[in-house]
Structures are given as C-alpha cells and as structure tokens.
Amino acid sequence: MKQVLEGSQAVAEAVKLARVDVISAYPITPQTHIVERLSDFGAEGKISAKYLRVESEHSALAALIGAATGGARTFTSTSSQGLALMHELLHWASGARLPIVMAEVNRALAPGWNIWADQTDSLAQRDTGWIQLYCENSQEVLDSTLIAYNLAETVNLPAMIILDAFYLSHTYEPVDVPEQDLVDRFLPSLKPKFQIDQDDPQAFSSLVTPNAYMEMRYNIAQAMDETISQLDSIEGKFHDIFGRRYGAIESVQCEDADIVMVTSGTITSTCRQVIRDLRAQGEKVGLCKIKMFRPFPIDAIRSTLQNANKIAVIDRNFSFGATGIFAQEIRAALCNLPRRPLVFGYVAGLGGRDVTTGIIESIYRCTKDTDVPLSESIWIGLQEVSDGRARS
C-alpha cells in the first residue's frame, strides 16, 4: 500500500514486517521517531517484539548481543554520540558473528552540539566489521532494512542501515509498504547457525589464543567479501517479489562521462537532478552512488570509474589529518589501475549544512575548470572565520 512516510517511519515499518523478536534502544535525536513508532506498534499490539528500555546505547547493544546469541532477530537504532558509545560492542557483535541490524541516523558529533546530518559518526565505525548501507530515500530505507536482515543472517555479520538526519529521517515521501505475506516469503524466520542451547551447553566468546584468533579474523574478512555477491543474489530475490533493487553501487550515465560525481546518502538524490540538468546542457557527466560502504565494492567501483578523466567525490564527513572518507576509499580503490582518473575530493554539508543543486553544480564546474586538484580536500562554502586567537 502506498503511504507517505518519514525515513524514520519507513525503518519502523520494515522492523515490524521483519517480525523482529527483540528491540533495545536508548533515545537520541534524530533517530527518536524510529523507536517511538516501534513503541507505538508494541502498545497497539501490532508487533510482539520484546522492547527493552535500557540506560545507555552501550547497554542497548549489549542486550541485543545477548538476545542474538540466544537466537533472536534483533534491532536497535541510534545516532552520533550514541553510536560512539556503542563502539566497543560494535566490534563484539561482528566478532561474535551476530546478525544484529541497526538503523543509524547520521548526525554530527559534538562539540559544538549539533543534531544535524553528518556522516562522520558512522564512517568512524568503518573498521568494526559491520556491513554499512547508505540510503537516499524512504523507500530505499524500508527495502534495505528487509534486505539487511536477509544479508546479515546469511553471512553472520551485523548490518547498519544508514540515513541522513532530517533530510531523510524527517522527510515525508511516498513509500510502497509491502504486504506481510510477501515479506515473509522474502525473509523467513531466523534459523541461527549457532545459539545458546540449554540441552547442548557450549562456551561463547571465550579466550582465543594466537593459534586461532587470526583464522577467526580471516573468516570475518571472507564473510565480508562474500557479502558483496550475497547482496546481489538476495537483491535478486527481493526484485523477483517486489520489483525493486539497488546494488552495492549504482552507475548513472557513467559510460561516456568525462567527469563522474561520487556521492552517498541524500546528496545522491539531489545529485540525480543535477546530472539530468547538466546532461540536458550537453555536459558529459555521470553519477556513481555508493550504497554499500562496508564491504567496499572495489571491483564495481573500478569498472565504473576507470574510463572517466576526473572523479568528484562529495564527502559529508571528514577524517581530521587526512581527507573526506569516501575520497580516501575511492583513491585507494583506483590506485592499482594502470590508467587512473584524477580524484577531486570535496567536503560539503557538514553538521547539516544544506547541499543544494546549486552547490553540486558548482562542484561539477570546479572539477571541470581545474586541470588537477589544487588540494586533497576542497571545502565548499566556507565562511570567513576567526582562528580564535587574540589579534596583536
């Protein structure tokens, strides 16, 4: 049924449809609408999930690690400081190979205290062994949440569905909410590959000495590699039932493009409009949307970008002392190609600053009009600021 839903509500609808067993979360803006909606569903008897109210995000994830070890399908959601507080247990969830699914609403880290969109919170967790899927609209959020459960449970790794604060979490859009019986066909109930069983007592997460730890890490690395091909087959099944698929990346008019813009999240959606307008003016420009950031789909990215002359990466995030994080990963992915396009890194939209069609077009023009990047990171739209030091 077609509904008009916020990105947050789309997550909650998907969690309902996924027949999740255990939900645990601690409130933080801007993910609040997700857990509020789930709490309402619980009060109205629309879901039977056990909803655990806990004292922190650390405890929220700890509770789910326990529940998932017991064989439950689990869900949590958080943002920013909340995700940072979970950091220790993010590693634990992937190391224990638990298919926990989390919605992460991208919000800037403090200080300065800021509740608006910025990807640095989730990207700072890139080495924790979680699958990361960045979404651009409410339909994709709903679909990707369902796909994430299937994917996570197939490869036994936790997965994050990531959506921009407000631009997606609080924006109402038409969403086709699938029928429960179709979702049940796509996502059968969880059959854990291992779980705590009173009739078959075993130890979990015990001491692992150097003679086995490395192999366990290698297994996770292999599961991550397998995730790319599994996404393709799981999305194939999703497409057969619902008629929609997304891919780890999406290439829009890249075949003959001189310049390819690389984007993620809602900036992708706005960029689609810009690409269309620029193409209508005869500009040879393409768009590469990165949906899956972990695992990073290197082969697909290489084949999409290798024929362009210039790549313009837009990062709504920053790694201090380095560059925008997508720009880093794109540069690393391309470095072993015999012929490489130039990579221009742009930093825009931090802390929720608006990234308009005009800003995206100016990024394209800057890339076109510059022979080689003048610096590794070009900050867009900076206002004149004082450095905070007293003037002599």
Partner: protein, 181 residues
C-alpha cells in the same frame, strides 16, 4: 514542481499539513514531499514546514528558499517572522486572517497574489478548537489548484479517524470562503 512553505506555531499542525498535502498528491498519481524545518521545536513558538508537489518523482533533498506559495496558519506571526522571505514575486500568499487580501497586500508590501480566509473562525465552528491546518489546506487547494478537493478526503480520513468528517467540513468551508484579490 511547486514549492510551498507553511508558517505556524508549534502545535498548530503545520507538519501534519505537509503530510496531508503529500498524501493528497499521491492520491491522484502525482508526487509529494514534505518536511519540517530541521531542528528543535517548541509548542507555541514559530515553526515552518515545507512541501514539494510535482508530476514526476521528486529527487531534490535540500531546503526550499524561493517558494511558489506561502501559507500562514497564524496571523500573529506576521511582524514576528518575515513570511514573504524568498517568496517568488509572482508567488501566492495565503493567510489566515479576518483582513481582506488587499489589506494584507498593503501591510506586507507584497506584489504577488494574496488570498485570505478566517480559518480560526471556521476551525472553531467546525472543530471546536483553533487548529487551522486542515482548514488552511482547503484554502491552499482552492487557490493553487494543485490537487483536487476530493483527493484530500482519504488522507484526512486516514489521519484523523473519527474526527475526519469535522476536518473535512472545515477544509471544504475554507475552499468555498477563501477570497482572493
């Protein structure tokens, strides 16, 4: 594509308005998007919310700076916030007031089209409370012709349940009573 900005006060239902208009648009096969101003909001404080309505899928996910239409749910906001800020010079301004369109035009020195309706009176009579969001939606539908009046029916029923009919009555009255210059 038509871009709309709604001015209200926290609790007057501006965000519900944008949800209802987006629903009404998809009722008739169009596309709609709605979003609040992004940030903390308080009951009674000035708030804004936005709509985009188009005949094709709406890709833009950024703010609205030059709306085609501005709707003012609460007349007391005039003078506190600049309701015509960025409004296109050939745009439409729709205000809940007892004043005539000519008086508002003069007051705000706005050169585009102005429409007025006493939505507070209608809402009090039909709903028993001065919450004017559904009433002003009726005025917006009449003035812009963006969606058909009957396309609002299902969304209002979906959103308000047993209070739907009263809201639909208020919406229809504003549709009839709104005056333009």
């Amino acid at each position: 594509m038509v871009e709309i900005r709604w001015h209200g006060r926290g609790g007057q239902g501006a965000v519900t308005s944008v949800e209802l208009l987006a629903l009404a648009a998809i009722e008739e096969g169009k596309f709609g998007q709605g979003f609040p101003s992004f940030g903390p909001e308080r009951r009674g404080a000035p708030v804004i919310a936005f709509n985009r309505v188009a005949n094709e899928r709406i890709k833009i996910k950024s703010g609205i700076y030059n709306p085609d239409v501005v709707v003012v749910l609460d007349e007391t906001l005039i003078g506190i916030v600049n309701v015509t800020d960025g409004l296109k010079s050939d745009g439409k301004l729709i205000v809940n007031t007892t004043k005539s369109p000519g008086e508002v035009k003069e007051q705000l020195k706005f050169k585009g089209a102005v429409a007025t309706v006493d939505a507070t009176k209608i809402a009090r009579e039909e709903l028993g409370v001065p919450i004017t969001n559904t009433t002003m939606l009726g005025a917006l539908i009449k003035v812009t012709g963006l969606v058909d009046l009957k396309s609002a029916k299902n969304p209002v029923e979906h959103r308000f349940g047993r209070l739907a009919q009263r809201n639909l009555n208020a919406l229809s009255r504003a549709f009839k009573e709104v005056s333009t210059n």
